[in-house]
């Protein structure tokens, strides 16, 4: 006896569009720009010298930008589970499932965009140094951006960010059940990391030491799916707009 019929996919897509418009990417851009400007000195530096020669080596990489992007994605994922964000869904047509699915869509999108910008910030860094330093050996006439490698980097970094976002989303959901998790989860992670056993390093190694991109993608997507499924299970029983 419904007057208007709809389905999960249609509502999820509409929610995704609305959320995509509401997410502020300017925050990410500013964050990355600031890091690029302040870390142009390089990540690490060492040097040696004797009477005749002085040598100094600086490492430049986009690692720090990638780490910052990961933290940004983590914060954004947790924020998606907050009351304020959820109320926005339930102000219009929604159920718990579509609300979570559209969140997953958003997190996947920001993972990809975050990876793209942070990986290419490495190229930008190179370009900046080309103009900043006099000796332009950094980009010589035969220089070509290693596109295939960069694409691989983007995919791998996007997967890492997505994994972190999925964890953050689950953490945010647990926080909605009880504030106690705000202490319990970090305590658990710290405890495992500092403890005598190797659980934590084994856990990280499970992802980090994987050499096949396909297997790595499989591991990440499976773990993320598990996190999101748990989040949806938790959220399905929760009351909204209290």
């Amino acid at each position: 006896m419904f007057l208007t019929e709809t389905n999960v996919l249609a509502v999820t897509c509409k929610q995704y569009l609305v959320k995509l418009k509401a997410v502020s990417f300017s925050g990410l851009v500013i964050l990355q720009a600031v890091i690029l400007v302040f870390w142009t000195g390089g990540m690490g530096m060492y040097g040696a010298s004797n009477v005749l020669i002085s040598l100094s080596v600086r490492n430049y990489s986009s690692d720090i930008v990638i780490i910052a992007t990961m933290i940004w994605a983590l914060a954004l994922a947790i924020m998606q589970t907050k009351k304020q964000a959820k109320n926005m869904d339930f102000t219009l047509v929604s159920n718990r499932l579509t609300s979570c699915l559209s969140d997953i869509g958003i997190l996947a999108t920001i993972s990809f965009l975050g990876a793209l910008t942070s990986v290419f910030s490495g190229m930008l860094q190179r370009l900046l140094m080309y103009f900043a330093l006099e000796h332009s050996t950094i980009i010589n006439s035969s220089f070509k951006p290693p596109l295939a490698e960069l694409a691989l980097d983007v995919v791998a970094v996007a997967l890492y960010i997505f994994l972190i976002a999925a964890g953050g989303y689950l953490f945010g959901m647990l926080l909605e059940i009880s504030r106690l998790f705000a202490f319990l989860i970090p305590a658990l992670i710290l405890g495992l990391a500092r403890g005598q056993n190797n659980y934590f390093t084994d856990f990280l190694g499970f992802y980090i030491t994987e050499t096949s991109l396909l297997l790595f993608a499989g591991k990440v997507l499976l773990t993320s799916a598990l996190c999101f499924a748990l989040s949806i299970l938790i959220y399905n029983r929760m009351e909204v707009r209290r």
Binding site: F2, L3, E5, L92, T98
Partner: protein, 300 residues
Amino acid sequence: MAIIECVNIGKIFQRNQALNNFSAFIEENKITGLIGRNGAGKTTLLKIIAGYLKPTSGEVKVFGHNPFNNLQVSANLIFIDEHMTFPESWHLEEIFDSIGLFYPNWNKELALRLLAYFSISPKQTHNSLSKGMRSTFHAIIGLAARSPLTIFDEPTTGMDAAVRKDFYRALLKDYVEHPRTILLSSHLLNEIENILEDILLIKNGTKCLHLPVTELKNYALGLRGKADALNQFLNGKEEFYRENFAPEQSFVVVKNDFSEAELRELKKAGISTAAVPTEDVCVYLTAQSKGGISDVFNRD
């Protein structure tokens, strides 16, 4: 046909019982007013109907389905209250467009015309609106969405008298053109009784009355006269309110089930009768004690 069916629903928040054995059936294409005191359970009931909250006991059906976490029910209703949330940076017009995505009957032209009438610029952001303007904006959304089930939870909070009047007129006009089920909660009954068809009175989480407004107008009768004379007539009558305002003089409100003969008897005994305004009936029916606030000050 009942669009909303509530059977014995109860809702407990921590230790506070918000709803207790509440049952009601609300019919299609009617404007029903949900009236009750502060904390009577109005908002809780509406949120259960909207599927936001889960009742602790009992059964709710909206369009024949359990509304909790139901996408189809959600697609067929819109819930208007002061806590509607939209992205902070959006213009009002952008918000309108996003609503149009979800509600197929959405009439943006009407929404913009109403916005212009209430002198709110569509280029403002949701955050910059004053409290009354925000309520007006939400009410406009409720009107223009033309959702089969439209729930207004205290829609006029913060609106000034002129805007309130205009809103009720607009609601009635649009309802006549596009009949739909409307649930309106308020504690200002005298303002809305002219547009309501049914009244659902709620007291301490249970249903107190569910009547057409026309019947509520004749529901109670006020009697004024000597206390002794009055008491003779009150045997077996349901007494809602009693006030002793002068020595030996009383004003009593009772259920209006007097026969013609009884009314004539009353007149003979020197007791004057008066109709009781619906708003007062509701106040008397939902009062916690029969004497009203005066009882607090009468210590003897």
